[in-house]
């Protein structure tokens, strides 16, 4: 309760000097990427050639969560889940995207371990610098964010991967619109959260 209150106060009390005075809120004061942006970007671009060629698929992540949610939904309320329009079109089952995103987790684990960057932390120091060390507050905000994000991704038809990389590289007009809107919504909200 107290942390929720401090969250509202932090949002309501604009203090432009705050960001500059607290180095903990400077994103550049923390580690960035280990590899060059351009090597990683090129790697992801080449990876998309390979998924198109070998798997006849574009890289995407958000449908994984819809598939898992549908699988769990079927365990609880099978007939209701199967009756939903989205799951009639996309029946939840063990498919390419389930394996792909599961292995994304593993791939990042290997990268973090080989680079000595395994974090093993619940709260990032930049979050703590702004909102304190309440895990409940972080959980509340992240769950709310996840709900909005997944709903938005499904409505838009993809996420930062499916639209932001795969759709844009195929020059889909809607993907460019979606990518710009992802960042428009994100930039406005992040400034409200961290810079007001």
């Amino acid at each position: 309760m107290k942390s929720a209150l401090s969250f509202i106060i932090a949002l309501a009390a604009p203090s432009p000097a705050f960001a500059a005075s607290d180095p903990g809120l400077d994103p550049l004061s923390y580690d960035g990427g280990v590899w060059s942006h351009y090597i990683v970007g090129t790697g992801i671009g080449v990876l998309s050639w390979l998924t198109f060629y070998f798997s006849d698929k574009a890289i995407g992540a958000s449908s994984f969560y819809a598939t898992v949610a549908g699988g769990l939904g079927k365990l609880v309320a099978r007939r209701h889940t199967e009756s939903l329009d989205y799951y009639q079109k996309n029946p939840p089952r063990f498919d390419w995207s389930v394996v792909f995103v599961s292995c994304t987790i593993l791939g990042a684990f290997i990268a973090a371990c080989t680079g000595g960057e395994f974090r093993n932390e619940w709260l990032h120091p930049m979050w703590v610098a702004r909102f304190g060390d309440s895990l409940w507050l972080r959980a509340l905000i992240a769950i709310a964010g996840g709900i909005l994000m997944a709903f938005g991704a499904r409505l838009a038809g993809g996420c930062t991967s499916g639209h932001g990389i795969s759709g844009t590289l195929q020059l889909s007009v809607g993907s460019w619109v979606a990518l710009i809107c992802f960042f428009a919504g994100g930039v406005a909200t992040a400034h409200a959260l961290f810079r007001l």
Binding site: D26, P27, L28, G32, G41, I44, W49, F52, D56, K57, I59, A66, A69, G70, D85, W96, F100, V101, S102, T104, I105, G107, A108, F109, I110, A112, N120, W122, M126, W127, R138, A139, I141, I143, A144, G145, G146, I147, L148, M149, A150, G152, L155, A156, G157, S166, Q170, L171, S172, V173, G174, S175, A178, C181, F182, F183, G185, G186, V187, A188
Partner: protein, 196 residues
């Protein structure tokens, strides 16, 4: 130059039947590589992603734009030689603007997106678990309303599969090299102003 109707017979199983073991092995390998690259690129880190939304850390923009340039050239070249099918997401302007902005608000709240959230979990940023829980709930919530959304918002500005060259009436063979140069110049300008 490029026949948009060109369809390549891929040795893939029909969409409704279970994917073959070879396909799943490919998904595993590509997922591992994707997660590895995301972590090494730093784009699974809270401060890098929030920094992107604060317009202070340009890692994400550089990785995405590089991936788009490299991916676009390769995928369209492969398509030209009838080696791959294109899978451009459909353009539904209403759904992509509303869904995109909703996604963006969620993005700032979690800091991770669906792909980088999986990578964040792999690198031991456990707050990604809350985001993932939210993503599962939000996906099901969308499915719950998918019928009514399909008949309303998803019809607004539905342009089908529309690509930028067709929108601008420029032949793909001219548009793609020109766009690659434009994005490269943009990357160069970003790099000059923001080393990271």
């Amino acid at each position: 130059m490029i026949d948009p109707g060109k369809v390549v017979e891929k040795a893939s199983s029909p969409p409704k039947s279970p994917p073959s073991a070879g396909k799943l092995l490919g998904a595993a390998f590509f997922g591992l590589a994707f997660g590895f690259l995301l972590q090494k690129g730093g784009v699974a880190k809270f401060n890098v992603l929030i920094g992107a939304l604060l317009l202070e850390d340009w890692t994400v923009a550089k990785v995405i734009l590089t991936a788009i340039v490299v991916g676009m050239i390769g995928v369209f070249t492969l398509h030209h030689f009838a080696k791959v099918n294109l899978h451009p997401p459909a353009t539904k302007l209403g759904a992509q603007i509303i869904g995109g902005l909703t996604f963006g608000i969620g993005f700032a709240l979690i800091a991770y997106c669906p792909g980088t959230g999986a990578a964040a979990l792999g690198q031991g940023s456990w707050d990604a678990l809350f985001g993932i829980l939210g993503l599962l709930v939000g996906s099901y919530l969308y499915a719950e309303f998918s019928g009514v959304l399909k008949r309303s918002i998803e019809r607004w500005g539905d342009k089908g599969k529309l690509l930028l060259p067709e929108l601008l009436h420029i032949p793909r063979g001219a548009f793609i090299p020109g766009f690659a140069v434009l994005l490269t110049v943009l990357l160069f300008l970003i790099q000059r102003s923001f080393p990271r």
